[in-house]
């Protein structure tokens, strides 16, 4: 076909374009025609179709996501909010931290290694684009049943890909999740998060301003991978029946990305960059239209100047290509030479591909002809907005009525003991070491806490000991039972995990993984989860700084559990005060903080022992979470506790077993008055943690909790080490650490090793 220029498009209004194949709906196409006042060129159509896809335009989610802004708590810490590549938070001493979580679910099912690897690559470029040096990654993951044959294909590949990319970039992996549930069988969730650190003055934004400034593309050459718009295809139901719909997968080059990091940071340090944008989904279409529409003027791009890996690519393909490891910078003309020099130093290919103009149009040329002439705002920001219908599903009542509290409980101490062993050895509760030891925790030499701690913690200033902590949590089972509460429970857990290590929670990022928005039941789950999260963040005073929505995680009619994953970022003045999970010393007293109720809906116990999901999730009390957090932070700052572990899935017994195994020290537990042993051990009531208090601090610690009104119960003592060490629930049973370790650490190697 001959080149479809703007001139040509005006002259030939009746030419049929393949808008449907590119994922546009009829009314959306008509809207494009209306905006342009003519039919789009092929290149323009390519841009609108990728930028207006669900993945890039958030067309189904936008109306709900607004709540994060509307309900945002007043926070002095927020330096850059939602809308940029990633949010930025002030952590004091002149430092700012940026963090974000993203999904790479669909590609990771098709090609687990590369899908996961490029997921890490993408999130890290978002962090660099803010001006920050990436300092750590986290990876919340969800797979189908652990013993399903396809999980053996997907999980090892995903883990190797995350490790392969992150390790090669030199980013310590300091946390994440691994959850197994049959609902994720055809739709594994591969979320990846990254944190970056910069000085306040180094914050950079994605905008192109200043007429005459040059637009420089640098990094990898543009190739034919990812064309067909992985972003379009991530915007539709994943349907095995249509292999042609499988998104093209790209191969990542972490080495190239490492060079990108170093050369970008060097350019930032010399103040060479006016605006910057990474190339992710929708490639050049996205980068140019976003840079231009966030800036003051227009932009003119010579597409011929884009370095290509394949000279046969058409301009449409170049615009849509999602080749990895590319960035776009806006640089003043006088600084271009220096910028290119730095790229050359790092062996990074860099080319001026255009410039910022006075006008307000984005114009793209190919072989001297104008093939795109659009208002960039219409591409980047004026995508369609849907008010999708939503309705509480008919089955919700029945699900909630199927009360887990009525399930048969262990009838004898021996049965209780067997259930404890089954729980700590179940795939979801088992040690994730087989996975996390494939990740580098040590690189950069600033890792204070990493897996399996409650939160990962990184030192950011060697002199003062300033540090940041991050935890990611989500519980699709809770969210299925009640999406509003489920989202708040995810928030509460991540918040608690951060506070348990001694850091003060500051801000939130999220990754919202759901089924098809075209299903009103899914849309209801989505709306409820957002409402819950936004209300929760308002109450806790932790603003949402950004995040990601992944819809269409669905095969046929079967959607995944609604799975909002929440990341909470915290700050700690001096990392020397951090609190670890492991029991440190024999004789220290164990206290349970918070209230324990009969709450088993969605619990690990109900899943492991009864393969049951029903009832209501645990209640959330965010004021209590805040109080618990304050106590944990004060106790760590003032040296009143030597170990702490938050209680979440698996309840108290899971937490005590983990702390005991990590420290190599046993525990003697006494069931407190007013609780039966079963509820004491397995309840999943929120707002709780267990702490180990040195005897010398007992009074002070009790006084503090009493004065603040936090319920605190003495439940036992750290006791025993070496081969004799046991977890002894007095009057019920005792299990040796060896036995517990075998159950807890043997599961994943048994399946995947």
């Amino acid at each position: 076909m001959s080149l479809d220029t703007v001139e040509n498009a005006s002259k030939t209004p009746d030419v049929e374009l393949p808008w449907a194949e590119l994922g546009l709906k009829k009314d959306e196409y008509e809207r494009v025609v209306e905006i342009l006042g003519r039919r789009p060129t092929g290149a323009e159509l390519a841009m609108y179709s990728v930028m207006w896809s669900e993945h890039c335009s958030y067309k189904s989610s936008k109306v709900h996501l607004r709540q994060f802004g509307e309900k945002a708590p007043q926070s002095d810490a927020m330096l850059v909010g939602i809308g940029e590549n990633a949010g930025v938070v002030d952590v004091g001493q002149g430092y700012a931290v940026t963090f974000k979580v993203e999904s790479h679910n669909h590609p990771s099912y098709v090609e687990p290694y590369q899908g996961a690897a490029t997921g890490v690559g993408g999130i890290v470029r978002d962090i660099i684009a803010m001006g920050a040096r990436p300092v750590a990654v986290v990876d919340p993951l969800r797979f189908g049943a652990a013993d399903h044959p396809d999980t053996k294909r997907v999980l090892p590949g995903v883990v190797a890909g995350i490790g392969g990319y992150g390790n090669c970039l030199g980013l310590p992996n300091i946390g994440g999740e691994v959850v197994f549930d049959a609902c994720y069988q055809g739709n594994p969730l591969v979320n990846a998060g990254a944190i970056g650190v910069m000085r306040h003055e180094d914050i950079h934004l994605a905008k192109a301003s200043g007429a005459g400034n040059k637009v420089i593309m640098y990094g990898a050459r543009t190739g034919g991978d990812g064309i067909g718009g992985a972003s379009i295809l991530a915007s539709e139901t994943f349907d095995d029946a249509k292999p042609s719909k499988r998104p093209a997968v790209q191969v990542g080059d972490p080495f190239q990305e490492k060079l990108l990091i170093e050369c970008t940071l060097e350019a930032f340090a010399e103040k060479l960059v006016v605006g910057i944008q990474d190339l992710g989904a929708a490639g050049i279409s996205c980068a140019t239209s976003e840079l231009a529409s966030n800036g003051s003027g227009g932009m003119r791009v010579e597409l011929d100047d884009v370095p290509l890996r394949d000279s046969t690519l058409s301009p449409e393909e170049i615009l849509m290509s999602e080749s990895q490891e590319r960035m776009c910078a806006v640089v003043e003309p006088s600084k271009v030479d220096r910028f290119l020099e730095i790229c050359e130093k790092w062996d990074v290919i860099a080319t001026v591909i255009g410039e910022v103009t006075d006008g307000d149009r984005l114009e793209i040329f190919w072989h001297g002809e104008k093939i795109v002439d659009v208002d960039p705002r219409t591409v980047a920001h004026d995508g369609p907005v849907y008010e999708r219908p939503y309705a509480r599903p008919a089955w919700q009542d029945a699900l909630q009525a199927d009360d887990a509290n009525k399930l048969p409980r262990p009838a004898s101490s021996d049965e209780l003991k067997q259930q404890v062993l089954a729980l700590v050895g179940s795939p979801n509760q088992a040690s994730k070491k087989w996975i996390t030891q494939q990740y580098d925790h040590f690189v950069q030499g600033n890792t204070v806490l990493a897996q399996p701690e409650d939160s990962g913690m990184i030192r950011i200033d060697e002199e003062t000991g300033l540090g940041v902590a991050i935890a990611t949590d989500g519980n699709g089972r809770f969210a299925k039972l009640d999406p509003y509460t489920g989202a708040q429970l995810a928030l509460a857990e991540a918040y608690r995990n951060v506070a348990t290590t001694g850091a003060k929670p500051l801000a939130v990022s999220d990754c919202l993984n759901f089924g098809s928005p075209e299903d009103p039941a899914v849309m209801w789950q989505f709306a409820e989860a957002i409402r819950g999260l936004a209300d929760g963040c308002l109450q806790l005073g932790t603003p949402v700084t950004g995040g990601n929505v992944s819809l269409y995680n669905q095969t046929g009619e079967a959607a995944i559990h609604p799975t909002p994953v929440v990341a909470v970022l915290g700050v700690i003045d001096d990392v020397a005060r951090r609190t670890p999970v492991a029991f440190q010393e024999e004789g220290q007293l164990l206290y349970l903080l918070g209230d324990t109720r009969e709450e088993f809906g969605g619990s690990a116990w109900s899943q492991v022992v009864h393969d049951h999901l029903g009832g209501l999730p645990p209640k959330v009390d965010l004021e209590r979470e805040r109080l618990l957090g304050e106590i944990l932070i004060s106790a760590s700052r003032d040296g009143m506790i030597d170990a702490a572990h938050d209680l979440s899935d698996g309840g108290l017994v899971q937490a005590v077993v983990e702390s005991a195994l990590l420290g190599g020290k046993g525990a003697r537990l006494v069931v407190p008055d007013g609780l039966d042993a079963f509820t004491f051990l397995f309840s999943e009531s929120a707002g709780r943690a267990v702490v180990a208090v040195p005897r010398s601090e007992e009074l002070r610690f009790n006084d503090m909790c009493g004065a603040r009104g936090l319920p605190v119960t003495r439940i036992g003592v750290v006791d025993g080490s070496g081969p004799e060490a046991r977890v002894d629930v007095q009057g019920e049973f005792a299990l040796s650490l060896d036995e517990l370790r075998a159950a807890h650490e043997g599961t994943l190697p048994g399946i995947f090793g």
Binding site: C168, F255, K258, V443, G445, N446
Partner: protein, 227 residues
């Protein structure tokens, strides 16, 4: 008087800054060296740090080994300059034939990151004199291609000449022959090992131990004594 210890940055080096920090904590002066520069800036010793230089593409260390800086390092190492290769640096040293044998992918085919127990077998090298022979230490290990291999003749020779410097204890993390974690050349000035001593220099960070610091104090003492 202190010693100047160079740390080479190859494209894809990751632990270069960490190694500089370790050198500083030991009391010596770290000097950044760049792979495209033949000039060693008159340093008294060189560390080739860990990482994935050139992405470990082709073979770990294979491309870096041909960098301009390595021309000088090879010459001077043969003339006695103390050189330490950590992880990727060790791989570069075997590719450059400054140390015998080769490095292959871990036998279990996964990357592995753990706090590794080692025995110091040779405390007479330029980099290990602050340890005692037979001492057991813990040093973080993290690698994909950590399997040390050499033919039987070479292995026997290394053993006979006391050139096995470190051996894995309790657990062989990568299938290295004869549990070898680190070796030295005949002169004892060039040492390579897979574990990362630079990540065991501060009590709060990483594994929480400081068993790696003696590497850097050993070389510092030797250099100061020599000057």
């Amino acid at each position: 008087m202190t010693a100047r210890i160079g740390v080479v940055t190859f494209p894809g080096s990751l632990d270069d800054r960490d190694t500089q920090r370790a050198i500083r904590l030991a009391g010596a002066e770290p000097v950044a060296l760049w792979h495209k520069d033949k000039d060693l800036k008159q340093v008294d010793a060189v560390v080739l740090p860990g990482g994935f230089s050139y992405g470990d593409y082709l073979r770990a260390g294979a491309i870096s080994r041909f960098s301009p800086v390595m021309e000088t390092v090879i010459d001077q190492a043969q003339a006695g300059l103390p050189v330490l290769g950590i992880c990727n640096g060790f791989q570069v040293l075997t590719e450059a034939h400054l140390l015998p044998g080769g490095m292959l992918g871990n036998d279990h085919l996964h990357f592995i990151c753990r706090d590794q127990k080692l025995r110091v077998e040779n405390a007479d090298t330029a980099w290990t004199s602050d340890y005692e022979a037979g001492q057991e230490i813990h040093i973080p290990l993290k690698n994909m291609d950590g399997r040390y291999v050499a033919d039987e003749y070479t292995l026997d020779k290394l053993e006979a000449e006391g050139r096995v410097v470190f051996r894995y204890l309790d657990f062989n993390p990568n299938g290295s022959l004869r549990d070898i974690a680190g070796i030295t050349n005949e002169a004892g000035n060039v040492v390579g090992l897979m574990p990362h001593p630079e990540h065991a220099v501060e009590p709060l960070i990483g594994s929480g131990r400081t068993d790696g610091l003696p590497f850097f104090t050993s070389i510092l003492k030797k250099l100061v004594a020599a000057s």
